[in-house]
Symmetry: D2
């Protein structure tokens, strides 16, 4: 059963394999009349692109997006928006040598077990290139949210064992994230992260980390209990990103060691509005947004592609072999996951805003 | 937008509020001809029931299930199965006093912000009683899975800061979990957990913990990339349980500090079958099951209802007040979440087994 | 794959078999705060009930509805509403004799081919009693629509070959339909219909007819092209009713013999509003409501249960046999289908109103 | 709410507007390993193309399909298949003159009322070009069905008031349909149809008709009562095609004038198999396929674009005006709807075959 559709009203269907013709996505449910250009989408895609720094793979993928439908004279039509990125200069030859040797920790083996074949060319549908579709759809979601005052931010809070270890202000994120290759909001910590990442990389190894995403100015009342709670859908969306092994909201796993009296966010009045004095809930209680910032973190595992020798099985000969990958891989995927995680959070929120009747489903209008 | 449906083929819709007439669930998509009795469901419900031990609330809820449809002469008909549990001896009077004073960390405030009213009587739809529906549906899922050789297990791995801290064997879980009030697989650790839980409870406070669920003998190939990956759906299902603030698969957040060479599970041949020598992946790679055990853990926050005084806002008068709850509450919810988490995992797997064509959707048959 | 869910936002899941414990439905997606009582639902159920007249079966089914959830102090909570009708005084013994002899034109054979069993007791899930769930859900939909000014009407326009043959005014429908056993808006025609129905009935035979449903005051802009067009969803909803073999919108099959210049409804201005001077479109163009009345008609086949001898196959012995049914059956099902068809149209419209943002999904408010 | 997704397992999302960049569709849920080429799809698209005969519009649309994903080395990958047809030589200038004058019977007005704008360029998303996506997806569905022995056929049974008026054999359809511009299975009738169509066309007018689609060799047991019955989904699919105002199954509206003893198809044994001696049911009882041929007919209204003067409203000036269209339009759309209706029926059946577990969802294999 195909699992390539996401969202109920703001709904996308993505397609495309690495090393095949193209990657793309169709986004349905965007109200008519919203200004949208290819440049809006390209800006986000450029953040996702590899080769931006020494901690990510130096492959120069030129990912130019083309909008094929749903936009006319610079505005959305209310019809599905198809966005396409062609795969150019694809070289699948390095993958020939490992065609029958699934990489440990990678998608080849389970794809083979499921579909009876391996699309060995760079991971096919299981490759990171698939996230182009998410980022493109996320760009539209972000634009729609921004018109309603909602901002989505992301940053690396830990990488290769080096953690920021303190709360950072939204302004630090806005100011610093694009200034360093780790997409960390603390420039000093970023430097140490980078050192540790490179140290592992030089040893032919990879590292993981933790990425945090936030949404500011989200109205109270989003989320559909009891199964489509806001946190449940955020968990679904973020866990669906490759390499993610955990998701937590607010205090998350830290909450397990707190007492109720510490965890419960006290309620108070500020300028006639009910607020909580802390935000251990991460902006969500009972699956419904409270009006406080939404805060989610994801556990990013170390990139599975490493040059150190690994044990695997040659599935053609059914014998154990040693695998020695050649080439250059992302030593740490966290900085590239930041825009993808932002996109997925934005998509969930755009969908929930529409479902909660807070965005008109047919006609775009900026609400104050 | 109602969010009370879950699953694509094995699909349930749940209903009911605490302190209203009844809680129930309709389960659609169960093949015809599967033996099913109320006793099958009651067994699981009894595990969820409060009042089983000193660490859970002593309210004596008699939760008798009645099957209203979908079963005839002891076998499923292939039609929707409605299961009903009436709420009996409901006393909403304790909630009158706090009617306009939302409990911090609780669902009342966000429900009020969303729907414009508070169903103050024991939390209404946001109360833990809602999980009766999950456990009842899960009982059917478990039975269907068991006929196909799949076993689902759950246990508390940490509570009130006391952790098991070692891998436990499935046999320990099977043997010990129902022998202690914490539903911990290690009886010694269980004892210490209980002590810490009671210590906090005596101080008018509550504690959290970590629950682990496993599925054994799951075939490779379940999961629908890229959005309905197996881990994404498990995260959705588990995060939708009240009080859960985090979900992790396999090594989870530990993976963020490992290197690729440690995290990647080496592949090998054992009796002609490809296996991994470790299971950091938790049985899922690229969103598809690998044939290794599925392992997921959830972060359970401390129960929000505590007797310690707390700051809140009276929403009728719009003024800050102190809230002092009376009564007895679950000092630690982990043991009662164990069967709920098992149920949700079983529901996801039953649905995925059907979607992968590994269970016939129309006619029940035991496959070897 | 269970097919017992209908609707996207206003969503119901129905359950229950004739001659089993109960029939019921859960309705999700109803905004909080709408007044709703069991009497509101009972009124519609009473119209569906058999035994109301000589042209329908004289079985006295007492169908008392009980609301189990989603309503508190006379108002909806925004949570799922479960409505239950118990099957009482069920006598399945008449069906014992024909247990292995599927009735021609009836559901037993296909159910057996699909599920491997026959729930022979009065048709099980395939029986007309299933429509109780539709009518109950429809009662809620109608109430929600009425609060937004939309009225749904139904009437028999042809039965046993006797047709009304002229356009009737909404007022005739409102005034006359409940005054005659055929639910026909023209009392003279109704009389002739009844005579023809009884004539066939006395010959041990049954008759069919045509039922029309209308919705007045539907705003323009409902319908989601290109697959969830308003007419496509109405066709889906109406064709899902047992015994319906055709659906048409506006001029319907008559349109096939018209020329474009006759069919196209001319546009004009009336009091500053764009209207069409005719309504061959039946209120829907390009799958979107135009603001004119929605008009749909369904082809109702003659009731398959007849007392005339029929050829069938004994599936236990696999031999051809003659089947001679005893008992009293509906000689003409049209009048009982009227409230069911109204219900399905109301459900589609309530869902579309929510999807189009014309009804707030969370909080009920009467809009002018 | 976007309505551009169709199907549950075999699921498509279509996109694109007439006179914009491209039309396309993404098809998810196709098993891996099925042979598929652009030629397979092109063949069906060529049947849909205008300009094939004097009864359809002479515009020469070159509709070349490109497969962008989901196929590798001539076989499907189990991943979504995106198919794209670029709009070439688009000339929107003829539409400038009628930009603010919605054509009666056409989609412009309801689109404007819904989305607040008119994509006047040839109807935009509401134009017949949208059906390219349906036909492309249908080509895949047909291929999948053919591998499982199921054949889908379509033909015009009435046009411009000229009806075939007798049952035609599948062989006549296979042999004659592509031999005449009306896609009629009876060549003599086809000639008379054409004459009547041209007569109306010369008078600046258009005509409608009836198209029949059949599916042969469909196994018993498809269809998911009570809402996703096979006939309900076929009605949904066919009614979603532009210009369709009615759908009927088997005897359809004729059934309303039959008695039960005529309508009920008698059951008998033929070579040890239960068959019905007639097929008034059109292969579907209780929403489930019986094993007999599936038969559905649709009412096609006369093409709304005619050159005769019509009354409309200038929505910019809000005044009544006369509209006089120039150019050449399809005088009768039936022959072009034949492949579209076949496609929609094939898509419903492919989806239902997968849902019924009769096609493996992951790996393609030809079953005997």
């Amino acid at each position: 059963m195909g699992g390539n559709t996401f969202g109920k009203i703001f709904r996308m269907m993505s397609f495309g394999e690495s090393h095949n013709v193209a990657i793309g996505v169709v986004v349905d449910g965007v109200p008519a009349g919203m200004p949208l250009s290819e440049a809006d989408v390209q800006r986000e895609l450029d953040r996702r692109r590899p080769g931006q720094s020494i901690v990510t793979t130096p492959r120069a993928e030129r990912d130019r997006v083309e909008i094929l439908s749903g936009v006319f004279e610079g505005k959305t039509l209310g019809t599905p928006i198809c966005m396409l990125v062609r795969n150019v200069d694809v070289d699948s030859s390095p993958y020939e040598a490992i065609k029958t040797k699934p990489r440990p920790g990678h998608v080849e083996l389970p794809y083979w077990l499921k579909f009876g074949h391996i699309d060995h060319r760079g991971g096919g549908r299981g490759a990171a290139r698939e996230t182009i579709a998410r980022v493109a759809a996320g760009a539209i979601a972000k634009k729609l949210l921004a018109a309603h005052g909602i901002e989505v931010l992301g940053h690396t809070v830990e990488a290769a064992g080096v953690a920021v270890g303190r709360e950072v202000k939204p302004d630090e994120i806005r100011k610093n994230v694009e200034k360093n290759p780790m997409r960390c909001a603390d420039l000093g910590v970023a430097e140490r992260m980078k050192e540790e990442v490179l140290k592992a990389s030089e040893a032919g190894d990879s590292t993981g980390g933790v990425v945090e995403v936030l949404a500011l100015n989200v109205p109270a009342g989003l989320g559909d209990p009891v199964f489509d709670k806001l946190d449940a859908e955020i968990a679904h969306a973020l866990m669906s990103i490759g390499s993610v092994k955990g998701v937590e909201i607010g205090a998350g796993f830290m909450a397990t060691r707190m007492r109720g009296s510490e965890m419960n966010d006290p309620l108070a009045l500020r300028r006639g509005k009910i607020v909580s004095l802390t935000n251990n809930a991460g902006g969500i209680l009972g699956g419904i947004s409270t009006g406080m910032p939404i805060v989610a973190r994801i556990a990013v595992k170390p990139t599975p592609s490493i040059t150190k020798p690994q044990r695997t099985v040659d599935i053609a000969r059914m014998e154990e072999v040693e695998l020695k990958l050649k080439g250059r891989f992302d030593p740490n995927i966290c900085p590239r996951i930041v825009p993808v995680a932002e996109a997925m959070l934005a998509i969930v929120l755009a969908d929930q805003m529409l479902r909660a009747g807070k965005i008109d489903p047919n006609r775009f209008e900026v609400r104050k």
